[in-house]
Symmetry: C2
Subunit: 259 residues, 2 copies
């Protein structure tokens, strides 16, 4: 029994995760519905999270408190890579005039660990901590291309990719081909598979042993001058790859550990 699964912990974390951009503030009934818990059970978890300071209760509704940020902070604080990457991502964003980001694999998702938004207010809200399914993103395909072959095979075998837009590739053979292409070329482009209007190119960050430890990308709005085929191949991709190389060099020079 010592290794028994603690269901209360799983449920409590599910309550925390039930809050998102579309559910910033919820009633008890909404939390119960989104977590498949009874109202009585949801109330106990919410009450505990309020006691611990992670949730705020106000006039019958609940929302996350800024203290929840401190849970993920411990991960970032042990990670030198985002810190090393930021100067290079900032320079990249300044040169191309678009947002750039870095992410790593977490299970079947990519998780953003650094982000430099473009000098304008974007409609898309992406922050450190944002997750997306790996198969439908440029950084995800680059990261998957960096997996050992057996691990990539297991990943592909367990996927049941669902379309996110009408451009999302869902055929395993096609996705596998794009991942293979990313590996061969050292970069990849994903066009509106995650969101209509969004085009993104990514490249791997590689450590001294040749392992892919992260991916960086530049994302562009379709229709903007930077997002044209010409601009991407002549300007964006060379600068993206240069930034990825420089981050890899800083990492090796710093002897940084990727937590």
């Amino acid at each position: 029994m010592t290794d028994a699964y603690v269901q209360s912990l799983a449920r409590g974390l599910a309550v925390l995760r039930a809050f998102d951009a579309e559910h910033v503030q919820m009633t008890l009934a909404e939390v119960a519905r989104r977590t498949d818990l009874t109202r009585a059970t949801a109330r106990r978890f919410l009450h505990t999270l309020v006691e611990l300071g992670y949730v705020l209760s106000e006039g019958g509704t609940f929302r996350l408190s800024p203290s929840v940020l401190s849970i993920g902070y411990a991960y970032l604080s042990g990670l030198s890579l985002p810190e090393l990457a930021y100067p290079h991502l900032r320079e990249l964003s300044a040169r191309v005039g678009e947002s750039s980001s870095m992410s790593v694999l977490a299970g079947d998702d990519i998780v953003y660990v650094a982000r430099v938004p473009a000098r304008r207010i974007m409609a898309v809200t992406i922050n450190v901590g944002t997750t997306f399914p790996a198969f439908a993103t440029s950084m995800g395909r680059v990261l998957l291309a960096g997996l050992p072959p057996a691990e990539l095979e297991r990943y592909l075998a367990r996927q049941r990719p669902e379309a996110i837009t009408d451009r999302t590739l869902t055929d395993a053979a096609q996705i596998s081909e794009r991942i293979e292409q990313a590996r061969r070329c050292g970069w990849t482009l994903v066009d509106q598979e995650l969101e209509i209007g969004l085009r993104s190119v990514a490249a791997p960050v590689v450590d001294a042993a040749g392992r892919t430890i992260a991916a960086i990308n530049v994302s562009m709005r379709v229709g903007s001058p930077t997002a044209s085929t010409d601009s991407i191949s002549s300007s964006i991709v060379p600068r993206l790859r240069e930034a990825a190389l420089r981050i890899g060099h800083s990492y090796r020079a710093g002897g940084g550990a990727l937590g």
Copy 2:
């Protein structure tokens, strides 16, 4: 019993929080020691967190997985303020050549919700999610100055401030005076109270109703040209306050909700 405290949830979150910059990777024994749990209990929680994908187990040691970032993300994704603030913080950092940040109050701590590091690799690792005791930081004093008087009184009454450096103010009357000064002047300076060598100035971000919704700061290394009294009063503070005003304006114009 419906509102009973779920101890397993509290303990599981304590296990997650036990990992930090100084404890990136821990053995079972270390986790048990840092959380005051028995080894058997700590093992059950770690096992559950591994199952849920928040912790990685490797050769007898444990570390956080990038998935933990997704717990705090739900908070940021519901928050328009950091997104509105980033362009202004980036401009501020570029103009003064130093790091700038934004934070909000979470209990008795400040929590960083946005950060633009200076164009160099700093020794200090501060990220979104970093927390510090409010009383010893410039942003904290500005945020405390923005509390309703009764709330500030309760805050001051429950504090037992402990010195962090030999410069940290720990006398309640002195701290209260500095908070009052921050309110009167609209900005404040904290000199090496949080870390020797670190000097920081902060100003409040105010909503349409005149409430302080966040604080922004510029932090400098003592001895650098920007950190001189002259530079701070003639260059840093005016630019800091301008940025704070602009963020407040964007917020009001955008009708943004602070979670």
